[in-house]
């Protein structure tokens, strides 16, 4: 047995030889960089990573990662990845998708994958527009949005991706932003460590078709004023000088100004492990994610609970039955009722 330790992997080990072909300035570059920085830190051999994608700008991701990769068809990446993970539990399988790919054409696969709790990591790059097809509105585009396919403004009410994931029963739900590098990396690491479906929405800027969609959150002042950085066991405070907080009235969240008799003690302490998903759902609902509303944008881990995974359940059954019911192929082919015709043409019940 070879006991020599391989040198630790570096970011470079995960860069493929393919020229990256996203538009200059695209948020995808930052996300690619974050993933290439996080993967070497996970202690997993490079050949064990598989990245599966669908169709769209984000779905070109696998070509730029020097791992096993599968650029599949529109919306179907969770289905392909499920087939891989069910049969190859030793692999670390990541799905990279976008708002159109995951929430429109592939919505069914997304919710069922999350419902089953397949041990996959799903990164949804949400730029609120169809980029690869040159600028149509997407299922996360805001009402009234003017695009090539909605010249008079969209009247199509959008999805909140976090609510879809929480509603589908996802056991890990988080959100970060393409250019918030340290935050994004920490969220990716948390997702990697989760056992079960880990859903991460990454707000991603499309500087060609939907530039500055998240500017109110991502510009210099917005980061502190409009970002609510969730931390497990910590009170919900935000703002330039941590001068605001979120209180839970029992039915709703409300923003409170700290000081003047109100302190962190009046704010809800965030519990990402809360078994009932309704609070996480309500948290996801306070903002559409662009930082333009009355509430801050929740970032970080909304939900992280333990639950059995589908793939482990499937494999356990197979292992159990393989031990409990040994049968040869010959026995299977024979079945239970046979008859035998001998050389003289006589028939008797049973095999020879």
């Amino acid at each position: 047995m070879n006991t020599t330790e391989a040198p630790p992997l570096t970011r470079k080990d995960f860069q493929s030889d393919q020229e990256v072909r996203w538009c200059p300035g695209c948020g995808d570059y930052a996300i690619l960089s974050a993933v290439q920085q996080v993967f070497p830190e996970l202690g997993i051999p490079r050949e064990k990573f598989v990245i599966v994608s669908g169709i769209g700008c984000s779905s070109r991701f696998p070509y730029y990662m020097n791992t096993y990769g599968f650029h599949s068809i529109h919306g179907r990446a969770p289905a392909v990845a499920t087939g891989i993970k069910m049969t190859r539990p030793d692999l670390d399988v990541w799905v990279v998708t976008g708002d159109g790919d995951a929430l429109s054409i592939g919505g069914n696969h997304l919710i069922h994958t999350l419902r089953r709790n397949v041990n996959l990591k799903i990164l949804l790059f949400n730029n609120r527009v169809y980029g690869l097809t040159k600028g149509q509105y997407s299922p996360t585009s805001e009402l009234g949005k003017r695009t090539k396919s909605t010249p008079h403004g969209s009247v199509d009410f959008p999805f909140n991706p976090l609510n879809i994931a929480i509603g589908a029963g996802a056991t890990f739900v988080a959100r970060s932003v393409d250019i918030f590098m340290p935050h994004l990396k920490s969220v990716l690491k948390r997702a990697a460590e989760h056992k079960g479906s880990a859903f991460v929405e990454v707000m991603q800027n499309c500087n060609i078709y939907n530039d500055k969609a998240f500017a109110a959150l991502t510009d210099k002042t917005g980061r502190q004023q409009n970002g609510l950085y969730l931390e497990h066991g910590k009170p919900l405070v935000f703002g330039d000088n941590k001068d605001k907080g979120l209180r839970f009235t029992g039915t709703d969240f409300e923003v409170i100004e700290l000081g003047n008799g109100k302190s962190e003690d009046d704010c809800l302490v965030w519990d990402e492990e809360h078994a009932n998903p309704s609070l996480a759902f309500q948290m996801a609902s306070i903002s559409t994610g662009d930082g333009l509303g009355d509430f801050p944008v929740p970032l970080g881990v909304l939900r992280a609970v333990d639950a059995p995974t589908y793939d482990a359940g499937v494999i356990d059954q197979i292992d159990e039955l393989t031990t409990a019911r040994p049968q040869t192929l010959d026995q299977l082919i024979h079945g239970t009722d046979t008859w035998t015709v001998d050389a003289g043409g006589n028939v008797h019940r049973g095999a020879n």
Partner: protein
């Protein structure tokens, strides 16, 4: 054959007559257990050593309104002391559990055929439901037949007088009274069914024993009374020596896939979504987990095929199974497998259509869909099973092509052979083809789209192998490197290469064999489930002194190498198909040969006589020329 009305007589006993061949149809309401009754009769006859063939015919509705024509469920079985090819054109015996069952099936019955009816069900209300204006048991509707009136429900209740079951449960046993009678009438033993009942209802022995009791009551009723003047026997068929079992097509397909998994060393993964008549493959494979089989009931047809592709990427034997409507949904997934050149087997158990069509009825009209129903140039090998037992060999051959050529393969079956049964001579495991697969291991010089010189297959390099990290996908590939490439010359090259790869399969598939004269005036050429009817018709035509040959296609894409030669050797070629001429279209296009189509799209298989009459007409025409 017509059942004789006289036979050898012993004093005080019914006359006994041996017949070589009999067709029995059990018909009743969907809830009357006709499929089960027919299956029991089939299995018992199989164990006696008869050759047999079955034709289940049931409605798409689980429980259509009781007593109505759409609710009638029927099971036809033919048993014989010789080699047979079809479930029979016309029943000799009809068991009709109610007026609707009688009305729906009477027109098929042979003249002077035997009818056993449950008189208890011939009430004014049921007669009206079946659309009878007067009671056919009392008018002259049934004059041409031998009618036996039996109060099945009353007798069942009486047999179970001491049972503690409720009346409803008692009444549900009445099909076993009919079965007991038919067992007596055709001199079958009761033991195999008794054994089956006691295993099936081991947790509810009171149900098992009630059915046993009722079945014996049916038998005894015939034995004691003079209900029937003649009792028949069908002797064992002179089958080739060997061990046999009775098998349905879907079951043979499921077992064949497990066998292929074992012979290839690849764990089997089935991605499926419930659809008639393919679901039984999913059901059966779900019970074979102890063979390392993973079954995945996906959220839809698309996910089912995509998960199978993912499993293949990971080094499993990826399979997806469906019927026409589901295959349509899988088209984009199949095309992905064409592009990424991964092994995949897609089983299409065809049914009547288009659209939802006739879910429980049979048809062969997906041939052009599986050949061409995908965007762009998308060559996929196609192979068609021709009988229930042949589904086993077809599964192995589909897997062989898929893994040897790194390609998706489509396996065609249909509702007729999926649900039909026949005796199957069980093969020796060691005689099955060796399908061992070697995954690529060597990192030196590895390119994901480098190719085997002979087969043009690319290497199967599975995730987890150090040094072989690579990316595949639906975008056009550069040959050898597998890099995304949009160059015009490369695309032209790759389109031709994918076509050539599938075309080269012709190098290791058998030539088409012609049965009968190797050249001449008429060839009857078939594919898929028409094999039985064509064989029966051609054999009969020859027995009648006509000169006719026949051949049956197994591989449809690519066609066997000698097919063009075979077609050229005959003046006329007749292709019977349960569609409007889809194979004929392919043959005409490929070989510029005038093909004569015989179409039937009634949701029912061809009868032997239909094809025989066509042969007679065509040979008659030839003689006049």
């Amino acid at each position: 054959m017509t059942l004789p009305i006289a036979g050898q007589t012993d004093a005080g006993k019914a006359a006994e007559a041996t017949v070589s061949d009999v067709v029995i149809r059990f018909a009743g309401d969907s809830g009357d257990g006709m499929q089960l009754t027919g299956t029991q009769f089939t299995n018992t006859s199989a164990l006696i050593g008869n050759d047999l063939s079955t034709l289940p015919d049931f409605p798409a509705e689980i429980r259509a309104p009781a007593g109505t024509l759409p609710g009638v469920s029927a099971f036809q079985v033919r048993i014989a002391d010789h080699d047979i090819h079809t479930p029979g054109d016309a029943p000799d015996v009809l068991v009709a559990m109610n007026p609707a069952a009688l009305k729906a099936n009477l027109r098929d019955l042979r003249d002077n055929g035997v009818i056993i009816v449950n008189t208890d069900e011939f009430t004014p209300r049921n007669l009206k439901r079946a659309g009878y204006e007067s009671n056919p048991l009392e008018d002259d509707t049934l004059n041409a037949f031998r009618l036996y009136r039996v109060a099945l429900t009353t007798m069942t209740r009486r047999a179970l007088e001491e049972s503690e079951l409720d009346v409803r449960s008692k009444d549900r046993c009445k099909n076993f009274l009919a079965l007991g009678m038919i067992y007596w009438l055709f001199s079958r033993p009761l033991e195999p069914t008794i054994d089956w009942l006691r295993v099936k209802f081991r947790r509810r022995p009171e149900i098992a024993e009630a059915n046993v009791k009722v079945m014996k009551a049916g038998w005894n009723f015939c034995d004691i009374t003079d209900a029937f003047q003649v009792r028949y026997d069908v002797e064992p068929a002179k089958l080739e020596p060997g061990t046999y079992r009775s098998i349905h097509g879907n079951s043979a397909l499921a077992i064949g896939l497990v066998a292929a998994s074992r012979r290839s060393g690849l764990p089997l993964f089935l991605g499926a979504y419930p659809i008639t008549p393919a679901s039984d493959v999913l059901h059966e494979l779900a019970t074979y987990k102890h063979f390392g089989v993973t079954t995945y009931q996906a959220e839809d047809e698309i996910a089912a095929v995509c998960a199978a592709i993912g499993a293949s990427f990971g080094g499993n034997l990826g399979v997806s199974c469906s019927s026409g409507p589901g295959i349509a949904l899988k088209a984009e997934g199949i095309n992905l497998a064409v592009m990424v050149e991964l092994p995949l087997v897609i089983c299409d158990i065809q049914r009547g259509g288009p659209s939802t069509g006739l879910p429980t009825k049979t048809e062969q009209a997906d041939l052009l869909q599986v050949m061409f129903g995908r965007n762009n140039e998308s060559p996929v090998p196609v192979i068609a099973a021709s009988s229930p037992a042949n589904c086993f060999d077809t599964a192995l051959e589909a897997v062989r092509m898929a893994t040897a050529y790194m390609t998706p393969v489509i396996l065609l079956s249909d509702g007729y052979i999926a649900n039909g049964a026949e005796p199957w001579r069980i093969p020796q495991v060691e005689e099955l083809p060796d399908l061992r697969v070697d995954f690529h291991q060597n990192a030196e010089g590895f390119m994901p789209y480098m190719r085997d010189e002979q087969t043009l297959a690319r290497p199967w390099a599975i995730p987890g192998t150090p040094g072989l990290e690579h990316r595949i996908g639906g975008l056009e590939k550069e040959d050898v490197t597998g890099n995304v490439n949009y160059e015009p010359e490369n695309h032209d090259h790759m389109v031709r290469l994918r076509a050539e790869k599938v075309a080269r399969i012709v190098n290791d598939i058998p030539d088409l064999e012609v049965e009968g004269p190797q050249s001449g005036k008429l060839l009857v050429l078939g594919w898929g489930s028409t094999l039985g009817a064509i064989t029966g018709a051609v054999n009969q035509a020859r027995a009648d002194g006509l000169t006719v040959s026949r051949a049956h296609l197994w591989h449809i894409n690519p066609f066997p190498r000698n097919l063009g030669d075979v077609l050229d050797r005959f003046e006329r070629v007749l292709v019977p198909e349960m569609n409007l001429g889809q194979l004929a279209l392919l043959l005409r296009a490929r070989y510029l040969k005038d093909i004569e189509t015989y179409s039937k799209v009634e949701g029912k298989p061809f009868t032997r006589d239909e094809i025989l009459h066509r042969i007679e007409r065509m040979t008659g025409e030839s003689n006049q020329r």
